[in-house]
Symmetry: C2
Subunit: 349 residues, 2 copies
């Protein structure tokens, strides 16, 4: 028994024990086992097992420039949507032999910059970015250096990069069509502050576009901060002003949460005032009579991001134009968009 239970065995030690050269051991662990004689393979295998040898990725990365690391920047990790997508990203990474370095920015551009620098220092081979906001500049630099980068959900107009996310126009169309078909005529579009977040902008604008083209529908839109009582006030004013039947269209999960709270606080029965939210959440079926949502294919979005990244990685050199991959949402109809007295055959909550 060797005395030292030291830190980590190296390729050299394995070579010595196996009575082979560093090269052979290296080959053994680099998918070139076929080139070694069965006898040597066995010796190396045994030596490695005995020593608990694991190739050092740091050294590997240093030599070949291949860190086998992908980075993911998440704007808000406590958002279930982000986590769901991340789950897809991570699975796809694993399947392709990559590991995922995750950083949460809490929607803070400063942290975004910090983490970007960090990723760079670990020589990640690709980046999935769900950006907080502005720093198209540093991202631009990275892309300029040839780092594959895909923008997830949120994108910056100035930045020429691949994009993956929801088809926001389609989502708003589906929402409006559904509400219309269910008999609602007055629509309130509620968003978090639009600011620079592209999905918010797109949904916001599409709502206006569509309403302009639908004489049968009437509506308004607001983008309050969600922390105060603003949502409640807006809904109350809207309902006082609007004719019936009226409905609220929530631009994302956070808004759905806030709007549900507000409607409940006002003692309003869902359905009587319609409620439809973009983003499906665990509890949407639980609040009576169930909240209608547009679910995003989060897993698929995550996988697509990785796939796009690795595609770029493979044929680096050829400069394909930026590609955008948009996914359609799925309507999950529940009681919150069923007018009392109506008898549409909807999926039950």
């Amino acid at each position: 028994m060797p005395a030292r239970p030291s830190r980590h065995a190296t390729i050299l030690e394995v070579a010595r024990v196996a009575d082979a050269s560093k090269t052979s051991v290296s080959r053994y662990f680099s998918g070139e086992r076929e080139r070694l004689s069965p006898a040597l393979q066995r010796r190396i295998s045994e030596a490695a097992r005995q020593l608990g040898y694991r190739p050092n990725q740091m050294a590997r990365g240093l030599k070949g420039g291949r860190s086998r690391l992908l980075g993911m920047l998440v704007a808000d990790i406590r958002n279930p949507y982000s986590v769901a997508v991340m789950h897809g990203v991570e699975k796809a990474c694993r399947e392709r032999g990559f590991s995922l370095l995750v950083a949460n920015t809490d929607n803070d551009p400063t942290q975004e910059r910090t983490h970007l620098a960090l990723f760079a220092s670990y020589r990640v081979e690709g980046l999935v970015v769900n950006a907080a906001g502005s720093p198209a500049h540093e991202l631009q630099d990275l892309v300029g250096q040839g780092l594959p980068l895909v923008l997830l959900d949120r994108w910056l107009e100035e930045l020429e990069a691949d994009r993956v996310g929801l088809d926001n126009e389609l989502a708003v169309d589906m929402a409006i069509d559904h509400l219309r078909a269910q008999g609602y005529r007055q629509l309130l579009f509620l968003s978090q502050p639009v600011g620079l977040a592209s999905p918010r902008q797109q949904r916001w604008q599409r709502f206006e576009q569509r309403l302009a083209g639908e004489p049968a529908l009437d509506g308004e839109r607001h983008d309050p901060a969600l922390d105060g009582t603003a949502v409640s006030a807006i809904i109350e004013a809207f309902l006082a002003r609007a004719g019936h039947p009226a409905a609220v269209l929530c631009a994302n999960g956070n808004v759905t949460l806030a709007a549900t709270r507000a409607l409940q606080a006002q003692g309003i029965r869902l359905g009587e005032v319609g409620l439809l939210g973009i983003d499906e959440l665990d509890w949407c079926g639980l609040v009576p009579p169930g909240i209608t949502t547009l679910a995003q294919p989060t897993e698929a979005i995550g996988r697509a991001a990785v796939q796009q990244l690795l595609a770029r990685l493979d044929d680096s050199g050829t400069t394909l134009p930026p590609r955008r991959t948009l996914f359609p949402p799925t309507l999950i109809a529940r009681g919150s968009t069923r007018l009392p007295g109506t008898d549409n055959d909807q999926e039950t909550p």
Copy 2:
């Protein structure tokens, strides 16, 4: 202007441009700027800026053995509890100059092993483990090699390591005390399959202990799989059998979700049958009349894990005995544990 917009500037290039030696540049970026003359500092700073130089962590890790990487193994990343803790872990990491490598195991011991190997290959300096299940063996090895490791929430009895998590006994005590004080006398304890998950075991056992000591209370416990209709059946049978007032105690967030569904499906008003869940979730205030929960201090738990890890890292050598850090939950009382007709002054939903 140099022609090549190549990949990454190295310390050597910076040294050349700054007309200095590699050593000086290294010192500049390793927190030893004081030892350099102001003039040299300026030259290096300028050269680095101009070249967009970033120290290569891979090379750093290779040389000094300091990867500045922490690994976190998560059993189920889609569980909001896990994410909340992870948020704390990540923040604490960042504050201490570490990066976090996250791996989700989806409760699969095989993936757990794979990811553990992976972490080892990246020479993470510490591990936060929210284990799927069994492989105390590989974890034991890592600990034996001197790798700081803290068990989060779930722990393996066989493994001598630091532990951080909720005080499960206290949680069950608080739950029972609250239900009792609210007038409930028949208790149904509902858990996910207990199996090897230590928190489930502890809560499960504590419930039985406590009930044995309380003649005024009566109860039973079950740990069905959550995917079928089992929960509904169990609740129905329990209510048929039990006298009133009866309450359901949910061992975690997933169970709370399932139980709420079941109670709703049976048209039971919450409160009339009590409902209390361990784990606070976004929507618990939304389902009328609000679901009472025991909230875990997730952020604090995450931070504590990192702190414990770094403490070990600092005084490696001294072999302190394993330490366990337990946090108390916070009761958030809502309508689901208020019997109709009662008039307790509870926090409103």
